[in-house]
Symmetry: C2
Subunit: 137 residues, 2 copies
DNA sequence: TATGAAAGACTAACTAA
DNA sequence: TTAGTTAGTCTTTCATA
């Protein structure tokens, strides 16, 4: 990870479809170098995946979840990551243990998801915040 | 937004570099249709951007921020979205007003960012959680 | 780092609903 | 009039030297 890697990542974060040739021009190197470095960063999992940022549903929310003390959060997190409206699951420090990033069609969709979460055996309590607006960095 | 759109989005979310021809095969339509629909969804901002998910820094965190009541969160959010380590900024409902998604090189990097946030005139208080692990949906 | 073959994306003309 | 298809052309990628 040097300056060149970071420069390449910056370009890809803004638009991951930028051709290697164009990235090369922007960061001042050759197409082959950009390609090799992107491949290396994917192997090293510096780049986890090529993806899209969507605004599919009209309601985004974060659901903060507390689980029972004797539960390992990995299992329930993996399960919840598979749920349709769940964008990501974070295991976090602080009062709660898990945070879900959620993108649902409407508030009912968010509510269904909260219910689904509360119905999990391991879940002790939840706290939900609606995401009113978003800025990408 | 119909089933076909959703099917296309599902493929792109997992790997946004999947060729249109391959997506077409998977969802049962032609290459041109996939391309047209992706373009339409970008125009409609259903797809906000093509991007990458990275694990650049070794420390990810969410910083929850309360701002003074007379402040509009838009201005400060736009400013903070420009900060190097900030992945995204959410304006949220609940006790705090703004949540920063942060990806820093180390805990010192996170701490610097907290300090920077607290030094903003509009910021009343902050609360930070480290992201211990992440699952993508 | 260059170069050329192969893969993919784009243009535009066409068809069907 | 809009959405989908297809053939031909152009661009990008990727392996080789």
């Amino acid at each position: 990870m040097d300056e060149l890697d970071r420069a390449i990542l910056d370009v890809l974060r803004r638009d991951s479809r930028t051709p290697y040739t164009e990235i090369a021009d922007e960061v001042g190197t050759s197409e082959g170098t950009v390609r090799n470095r992107v491949e290396r960063m994917m192997d090293d999992e510096v780049i986890e995946r090529f993806t899209i940022a969507t605004r599919t549903g009209n309601v985004k929310a974060m659901i903060e979840i507390s689980v029972a003390v004797d539960v390992d959060t990995e299992g329930i997190s993996e399960r919840m990551a598979e749920w349709e409206e769940v964008d990501f699951v974070w295991m976090v420090s602080g009062e709660q243990d898990v945070v879900l990033g959620v993108d649902a069609a409407d508030t009912r969709g968010v509510n269904d998801l909260i219910t689904k979460a509360r119905n999990q055996e391991e879940v002790v309590s939840t706290k939900t915040r609606l995401i009113l607006d978003e800025q990408l960095g």
